[in-house]
Symmetry: C2
Subunit: 354 residues, 2 copies
């Protein structure tokens, strides 16, 4: 009310020019004489002008269409949570004229991604958010977007060369280290540990291998290494899957399993539950329903939360802030590596998304 904010009009008055001139100086669009420029600059130096974001936005308040290009939610609870985050973000931002269209592709099929990416591009949206799990195809897509001037935000999988507006995700290498730490906790006698990658193509496994590297790194650092770590890449749809998994689980020396994906975690947990085997420490990823169940029974000992819902939600928020409020998004927004246990899982389920 009283000490009102400084407006362009005020600067104009102080500098003895018109608001049009101040506007041109502020936006560096030239057509200003040296003299006027000096006068305005001088005033700007003295006062702390902060444009009214609300007013600025009002005039350009049109509808903003965002496309979310995601792996299909129907096949995978992880991506279902992602889509939930997208939906919540849409509710949050719809009063600002933001609409979000979700395009789903098959996470095991590059062609499907290419097809949907093309569809997204043809639609000429105002912004795109995607989980670029196919490296090369994504890069080509980004090239298109950049040329068309469509801003895009990545989450889940980082492709720095893609130069996105922003990346939202976790530090996969360190999440492996956290997994290892939790494995080591109060379990120092040594034995065998298994790192498992399930159901994943080589294409999108860079960040899974990062997790494994981190996991191994932790034990490397403690030079008295009592553990033998083996890696297993199994595919549940292959006929020999169960046999191979059994072979790993039946090893009496096996002390722990670290699974690199949320879905893989639930698969392994189910097998352990079926065999009634609770003496192996199981550490995996994410609070998807099936993992939650096994966490409560104690089959799963720890989950590392990648927070897919929040990743998607914040991705949209960064995009919207850029589109509407012209705020620059952080280059990378790395989430904390959240350790989920029986006792704190409910507090995660009950907490709000911001």
């Amino acid at each position: 009310m009283n000490p009102r904010n400084i407006r362009i009009k005020d600067i104009a008055r102080l500098a003895g020019v018109s608001k049009g001139t101040v506007d041109r100086v502020l936006h560096k669009r030239g057509r200003v004489s040296q003299e006027s420029l000096q006068k305005v600059m001088k005033v700007l130096e003295e006062i702390d002008y902060k444009p009214n974001l609300i007013a600025r936005t009002l005039s350009s308040s049109k509808n903003h269409r965002i496309i979310a290009l995601l792996p299909s939610a129907s096949s995978d609870a992880y991506w279902a949570q992602t889509e939930e985050g997208i939906r919540e973000a849409e509710m949050e931002w719809s009063p600002y004229g933001v609409s979000i269209k979700v395009l789903s592709f098959d996470q095991y099929n590059k062609e499907s991604f290419k097809e949907k990416a093309n569809e997204a591009f043809e639609d000429k949206p105002d912004g795109i958010i995607t989980a670029p799990i196919f490296y090369h195809e994504a890069l080509l897509f980004f090239e298109l977007l950049k040329n068309a001037g469509i801003p895009y935000v990545l989450f889940n999988t980082h492709i720095p060369e893609g130069k996105p507006l922003s990346f939202i995700g976790t530090d996969t290498f360190n999440s492996g280290k956290v997994g290892a730490e939790l494995m080591y906790l109060g379990q120092h006698e040594g034995g065998k540990l298994a790192v498992m990658h399930l159901d994943e193509d080589i294409n999108n496994s860079v960040h899974l291998l990062d997790k494994e590297r981190g996991f191994r790194e932790y034990f490397k650092n403690r030079n008295t290494l009592p553990f033998k770590i083996s890696e297993f890449s199994l595919q549940p749809d292959k006929p020999d899957f169960e046999a191979r998994l059994n072979r790993v689980l039946n090893d009496p020396e096996l002390k722990g399993i670290f699974v690199s994906t949320s879905k893989g975690t639930s698969v392994v947990a189910s097998y352990l539950a079926k065999k009634g085997k609770n003496n192996v420490r199981l550490i995996g990823y994410d609070i998807i329903d099936e993992n939650l169940k096994h966490l409560r029974t104690g089959i799963i000992d720890f989950l590392i939360n990648q927070n897919p819902k929040r990743q998607a939600f914040l991705g949209i928020s960064h995009l919207v802030n850029y589109l509407i409020f012209k705020k620059k998004a952080p280059e990378t927004d790395l989430f904390p590596l959240e350790v989920i246990t029986q006792q704190n899982v409910d507090s995660y389920l009950n907490s709000r998304l911001h």
Copy 2:
């Protein structure tokens, strides 16, 4: 651009009235004939009108003054982080004309709170955020605020009877359970456990006792209870403090210590470090610098993160969203109970505030 949002003007056109009338209907300020009301209501039922938040806010874009009434940051790293959160929130919201004045009181002195609370009230701000650690004094203060129509948000300590706009904090009871779980982890042989409350007046200890209750509850639920839990309330400024603390720490059967405050955690950690005693599991609260140091050396095994910075930041955000955007804040915003370890602490330090 094309499928523009529905505006008041559109509703007016569809209903065959003027926008003034629609406005009156929307805001229920009467002075509308039954006939016009019917027409407008009918249109409103058919379409999904969402007011443009940006435009709505513009007209009332005045300065909003918020007062943050907090324990002094100079004496306590926990409250220093709180103040940081306030400052970051101020930066975030200053483009919207929000200014925040921090009033600090002595966390061990009720009179100091009363004095500052009065000062805050006299200032007639547009909103108040406070950590109401003195129960009765806070209630009186809230009464004042309610009568004056000044909205207030609480964090850290919940006083539901105070009927705040919103409470931001953690579930202290369950955080005790998490502490107990971490204590029990891989440590099942039994022994003695100490719960410590340091440096706290009885006044603001309700939530500390909650933590203790939660801690005990966890062990109560596992009926084969191998641990004997004792409680110690010590005050570092008392002459016998060191002696009493020593007596607890020297017990060879002591297996773990759970400290209920951030400051207390660092005090106990320092003593353990000085004595070179690393065979006792220490679990405490918050990533303040001194705790961080001891976490890295392994003196502290786990920290439960109450996230004071984020609590304050979000408190302000809820208040601002209410004041400016007329969004109703959540009644309670309980944070997840974050488990901090050596390996994930950096990811917390590096992550952004939202």
